[in-house]
């Protein structure tokens, strides 16, 4: 499905870029406000996973769990954040997957994420599906589903939002 016009493409692209920047700059409060109250942040554990209730996930966080994670990341004694994780997101292939009506749409993108902590740099990559809902002052995330290329690999700790 194509974007309706250049404005719509800009609007959605800028939203995703803004979200990525909030994550890279650890602006967790602002990031959490991008979600609808019942919004879901979800990183499936296996390729093609169909639901988050009957199968374990890498992350499966509602507003409460997102908030608990954000609070933890800011604790002085979050030992596994000494030093804090640094990340940079690179987004690409931003495409409109569906538009239910003017208020809801699904955007698909791909990403590369470079992560640095302590002694090592890690790379994550995959595709993201944002289901967005229009609010008065811009878009809100209803669901952010991140499908990592290596979702089913053994992982070391994943601490920050991808």
């Amino acid at each position: 499905m194509n974007f309706r016009d250049w404005n719509e493409q800009q609007d959605l692209t800028q939203f995703l870029h803004h979200e990525a920047r909030l994550l890279d700059e650890h602006r967790w409060d602002e990031w959490q406000k991008l979600f609808t109250p019942d919004g879901l942040y979800w990183v499936p554990l296996v390729h093609g996973q169909v639901d988050h209730l009957n199968h374990a996930s890498l992350f499966c966080e509602d507003a409460l769990l997102r908030s608990m994670r954000a609070r933890r990341l800011e604790q002085a004694r979050a030992y596994s954040q000494q030093p804090p994780t640094r990340t940079v997101h690179v987004l690409g292939n931003i495409a409109l997957e569906s538009r239910d009506d003017d208020a809801v749409c699904t955007v698909r993108s791909t990403f590369l994420l470079l992560e640095w902590r302590k002694t090592e740099q890690r790379t994550f990559g995959g595709s993201v599906r944002h289901t967005l809902r229009r609010a008065d002052d811009g878009w809100r995330i209803q669901t952010k589903r991140i499908d990592l290329v290596n979702c089913d690999a053994p992982h070391e700790a994943l601490q920050v939002f991808l």
Binding site: S57, M68, R72
Partner: protein
């Protein structure tokens, strides 16, 4: 640029005098850092003990298989056409190819090697080889059982949990499990139908630490308040930010419990059994949210109120089945510990469904593994950091010994084991007594086997 100090493992050039490395209340750092000791452990500990392989429900139908590692050996668990579960080396007897791919699936009626097409029954016996005539009058006798897939020495099952041993000798599984068999029993008894099944996928976490550090932490109650401060504080703050009187959500309960004061942990009872096993009492008051209440009702409907109450009263946190797994009976998961090298350990987290319980009960199990044990866990990330700092610190020249003195000499005897209060380092001493036994040395910690007081 951060300064990165490489940790140089202690060279294992000297012959290892293991006896000199273990004492009743302390161990030498080398047992965690020396690659040669790791190799010996694979032979002597993982080569002798009963090791958890998987659960029968992972291979429900004939031909279904599941691969894993027994120590450093790649093995496969397969269900035969007669319904029996076999554990064998994942190696073709012809030229050695791995017979089934890593993972799980169905082999159909036979196991067929990809390389030259030898086929085997699902119990490993040789069924057919191409060019049979080529073997006539050669030294290779196709009737010789050595041309079947080699089975591990012993396989036994306790209520669906499959264990295997590479050793012909040693105690029977039930005797080996001793006092922790009751944890596996309670795991199943909690199901209205009395059975459990693996479901919902497996999470895998790689840790940068020796496997023993992980086991010791399972019953190291007093680390929680310090190590997990970031997560229990976050959980408490979260609850405080809710309107006054809001009941604590499940997500908060299972995280902020780590913040209990040291006096709380002291009151818990720890049990240690021969062979290194043990368990710790439950730390959560049985929850009274609608999901929990519906589950209790389903258990009462199936077993009657009295029996249900008896089952639910067995309230345990982590159980240690040394040296391979840790069941969590009240949230239905098993963590399987697979040592990869002296400083790398893989932990696999399997979730279980209680047959006959409401679906929401299983979903709560998944919530528990997602929040507490997944790679993304807020709780476990600080454990991993602690284990890694221990591993790195032990690689230094800052000291030779690791202390396990806390409450030494104050254990109470139990049939087949010993009990201590919740903040004792008895579980570590108990595991090292078993470890030393496997490794062929004596720590001086009395086991009931030695004193002959086992049940």
């Amino acid at each position: 640029m951060n300064s990165v100090i490489p940790i140089i493992p202690i060279a294992a050039t000297d012959p290892i005098d293991i006896q000199s490395l273990v004492q009743p209340d302390r161990v030498h750092k080398r047992v965690y850092t020396d690659p040669a000791i790791f190799e010996l452990e694979m032979d002597r500990v993982f080569g002798q003990a009963w090791i958890y392989i998987g659960h029968e429900s992972q291979v429900p139908k004939p031909g279904d298989y599941f691969t894993t590692r027994l120590g450093r050996e790649p093995v496969v668990m397969v269900r035969h056409t007669d319904g029996q579960v076999h554990v064998m080396f994942n190696r073709c007897p012809h030229k050695g190819a791995k017979l089934v791919p890593d993972g799980s699936g169905s082999a159909g009626k036979f196991l067929r090697c990809l390389y030259h097409g030898w086929t085997f029954k699902c119990d490993g016996s040789l069924l057919s080889v191409p060019l049979r005539s080529g073997y006539e009058c050669t030294a290779l006798d196709l009737k010789d059982p050595q041309y079947g897939v080699r089975k591990v020495a012993r396989v036994a099952t306790h209520r669906g949990f499959v264990f295997a041993s590479l050793s012909e000798d040693g105690p029977e599984l039930k005797e080996f499990l001793g006092g922790v068999a009751t944890s596996l029993d309670n795991f199943c008894d909690r199901a209205p139908e009395g059975e459990v099944e693996v479901a919902g996928g497996v999470q895998r976490v790689v840790q940068r630490n020796n496997w023993k550090i992980f086991f010791e932490n399972l019953h190291d109650t007093i680390h929680a308040v310090a190590t997990h401060e970031s997560s229990w504080r976050a959980a408490k703050e979260e609850h405080e930010s809710m309107p006054a009187g809001t009941p604590k959500p499940f997500e908060v309960v299972i995280v902020d419990g780590n913040g209990e004061p040291l006096e709380f942990w002291e009151k818990l009872e720890l049990k240690g059994y021969d062979h290194g096993h043990g368990f710790m009492e439950g730390i959560f008051v049985p929850p009274t949210d609608p999901v929990s209440l519906a589950y209790v009702a389903s258990l009462e409907a199936a077993k009657g109120a009295e029996r249900a109450d008896e089952i639910l009263r067995v309230n345990r946190h982590n159980t240690i089945v040394y040296p391979s797994c840790s069941p969590h009976t009240s949230f239905q998961q098993i963590r399987v510990i697979r040592p990869l090298s002296v400083d790398r350990t893989l932990v696999e987290i399997f979730s279980f469904r209680l047959k006959g319980a409401p679906e929401a009960t299983f979903q709560r199990t998944l919530k528990y593994t997602n929040i507490v044990n997944a790679p993304s866990s807020n709780v476990m990330s600080d454990d991993l950091e602690a284990y890694n700092r221990v591993q790195e610190g032990l690689g230094s020249d800052g000291g030779d010994w690791v202390s396990m003195h806390r409450a030494a000499g104050r254990d109470q005897p139990l049939p087949g084991g010993r009990a201590s209060n919740g903040n004792s380092e008895m579980p570590s001493r108990n595991m090292f007594a078993a470890w030393a036994g496997y490794m062929g040395v004596d720590t001086g910690v009395e086991t009931n086997e030695q004193t002959g007081s086992a049940e």
